[in-house]
């Protein structure tokens, strides 16, 4: 319930103080002097017994006076006539206090001036709650109340709003705090979310981002990710509805990754980093709750994958031998971007013996050929995530990303007769008509090489793609706008 009525100030001098402020403690005797010589009311923010010298003191328990009258510093001394503020001074300054009160020789034993402390009403930890309490809400979403004796977490599960893991209850204060993470207005439409093709506001994304466990500074990444997956090219509807297990895999580039504390190093695909764990999850919760995409309903994945809970990581740019993956999509290095890739869970590639780029490229090709099926080609993209112990070999040899991609693709070329239906005793494969062609595994720009991982381990990882192109998804990279 928000209260928007502004409480009046009493006429005369009004001081706002808190006990937990050394300057307020220091000037308590001055308040005593003023109380004797003029009409003074003291509002105290924390301790109802402070200042002891004053009888006419009022506890601003809910901070309504402080919030509505824009008290940013304590002590603040105001001059009020006919309930209107005439003048104010903040902190302790003898000349200012004497001018405002008309009382001379105040606090003669005190220093001439002393800065004040922050008012409780602007305490960052209370700000969102006070905005809800007094500010009049700018949020439009439906409010849902749970009973005091109801377990909120259980209630959120029962309503079908979670992915099976607990969520943070999206209270108004938390949602307002989340919205501080973006310059965008809560009612802006971010995207039309499949499968129900629902126009989704920034506010709804913020609600789900709270539930996922995001911090406000992650919100711009979530918004960009939602925009990316809701494009015609990415085809989120198809990716959700397919019986294949794939999900949006988000790769973050640019300085924002470090700024919000994302992990691109040890265990980059794993647990333990809040941004990595919650950004992808927030996107999935939007698709579930706003878009209506739930497993067993429109989501027809036969097996699914852990990536469907949420899969997000950053590229390790600092010591990468290559430009950021976003440059493949025309963004200059240093741009904050998110790449949405329709991928499955990662799997490891071991090569602890190769010390030259050619042999390592052969290892990659041998593994990449097996994505989806060794006899199925051109229909699937991939992310090859190269960890530093491997990337160093290419860096030292001066292999660019393009050179490595070209070499891997060349190494995957196989004669059509090995790939057609029935070849190798396996019915799965290409049509007979392709028997005389030599064919690579990947289409142009299908293979995405990303640098990430911890400093030790001669490994890389493959994240195989869903059906690519018009029949399926194209990866989409968008800029992250604050």
């Amino acid at each position: 319930m928000s209260q928007t009525e502004i409480p009046d100030l009493p006429d005369g001098l009004v001081a706002v103080v808190k006990q937990d402020c050394p300057t307020c403690e220091l000037i308590a005797p001055v308040l005593g002097e003023l109380a004797e010589k003029s009409d003074l009311t003291v509002f105290t923010q924390d301790d109802p017994n402070f200042p002891a010298e004053i009888s006419n003191r009022i506890l601003d328990a809910d901070l309504a006076i402080s919030w509505h009258h824009d008290i940013e510093t304590v002590p603040t001394l105001l001059l009020v006539r006919n309930s209107q503020e005439i003048d104010r001074t903040v902190g302790w300054s003898r000349p200012q206090w004497e001018r405002l009160s008309g009382v001379s020789e105040l606090g003669v034993h005190l220093p001439d001036q002393r800065p004040g402390c922050g008012s409780l009403s602007v305490d960052p930890s209370l700000n969102a709650e006070l905005t809800v309490r007094f500010g009049g809400s700018k949020l439009r979403g439906r409010r849902v109340e749970f009973a005091s004796l109801e377990d909120t977490h259980e209630a959120l599960f029962e309503r079908g709003w979670t992915d099976g893991l607990p969520v943070v209850p999206p209270t108004e204060a938390r949602v307002l705090a989340m919205l501080e993470g973006t310059t965008r207005s809560p009612e802006d439409i971010v995207a039309t979310v499949p499968p129900n093709l629902v126009p989704c506001t920034v506010e709804k994304v913020a609600v789900n981002a709270v539930m996922a466990g995001c911090r406000p500074e992650y919100l711009p990444v979530v918004l960009a990710a939602l925009e990316a997956v809701c494009t015609d090219g990415f085809n989120m509807h198809g990716l959700l509805a397919t019986t294949m297990p794939h999900a949006p895999v988000l790769v973050v580039n640019g300085p924002i990754a470090t700024k919000i504390g994302m992990n691109s190093e040890n265990n980059a695909f794993g647990q333990g980093n809040r941004a990595n764990s919650t950004i992808g999850r927030a996107l999935q919760l939007v698709i579930r709750n706003v878009g209506g995409g739930r497993p067993g309903e429109v989501d027809r994945a036969a097996l699914g994958s852990p990536a469907k809970v949420g899969f997000c990581f950053a590229e390790r740019e600092a010591d990468s031998p290559w430009t950021p993956i976003s440059t493949m999509y025309g963004f200059p290095s240093g741009t904050n971007t998110v790449l949405a890739f329709p991928g499955e869970a990662p799997r490891n590639v071991v090569d602890q013996l190769s010390r030259d780029p050619e042999s390592l490229a052969r290892t990659y090709a041998a593994n990449l050929i097996s994505i989806q099926h060794p006899k199925l080609i051109l229909g699937f993209d991939a992310i090859l995530a190269v960890a530093p112990d491997h990337s160093r070999i290419f860096g030292d040899a001066g292999w660019s990303r393009e050179k490595l991609v070209d070499r891997i693709v060349a190494l995957t070329v196989r004669p059509g007769k090995e790939l057609i239906r029935g070849a190798g005793g396996i019915p799965e494969g290409l049509p007979e008509a392709m028997a005389d062609l030599d064919l690579p595994k990947f289409r142009p720009n299908g293979l995405h090489i990303v640098h990430c991982g911890g400093g030790a381990g001669l490994f890389s990882a493959i994240i195989g793609g869903w059906v690519n192109g018009e029949m399926g998804s194209n990866p989409v990279c968008v800029e992250i706008i604050p």
Binding site: L139, G141, R142, R143, V144, E145, F146, A147, S148, L149, E150, T152, L156, R159, W161, P169, P170, T171, E172, V175, V193, N196, V198, C200, E203, K204, V207, N208, M211, L285, N289, V290, G291, G292
Partner: protein, 91 residues
């Protein structure tokens, strides 16, 4: 009481399925909800007598005002304590 924002698209009302109607009241707890309309209590007093005569357990509840929906805490208490509810609309 916790109040949260609905994370869904809100195009569908929140659905709360009704419990199945019991075939018998034997062994059940009956909630009697007075909505605060005049003389509803007299009706419910008599119903309580009749139910208690039959050996049933009865819980009494009262809404603060008939002009508003029951507070969420009251609804939760009734749902937690009772198997069936009889609500008195009276004047």
């Amino acid at each position: 009481m916790t109040k949260v924002l609905d994370p869904t698209n809100e195009t569908e009302p929140a659905k709360i399925p009704r419990v199945d109607r019991p075939t018998s009241l034997d062994g059940l707890t009956v909630g009697l909800l007075d909505i605060s309309k005049p003389r509803g209590d007299r009706f419910l007093d008599r119903i309580e007598e009749r139910l208690v005569e039959r050996g049933l357990r009865v819980e009494r509840f009262r809404k603060p005002t008939f002009t508003k929906p029951a507070p969420v805490d009251l609804r939760h208490e009734i749902a937690t304590k009772c198997d069936v509810v009889i609500e008195a609309l009276a004047d």
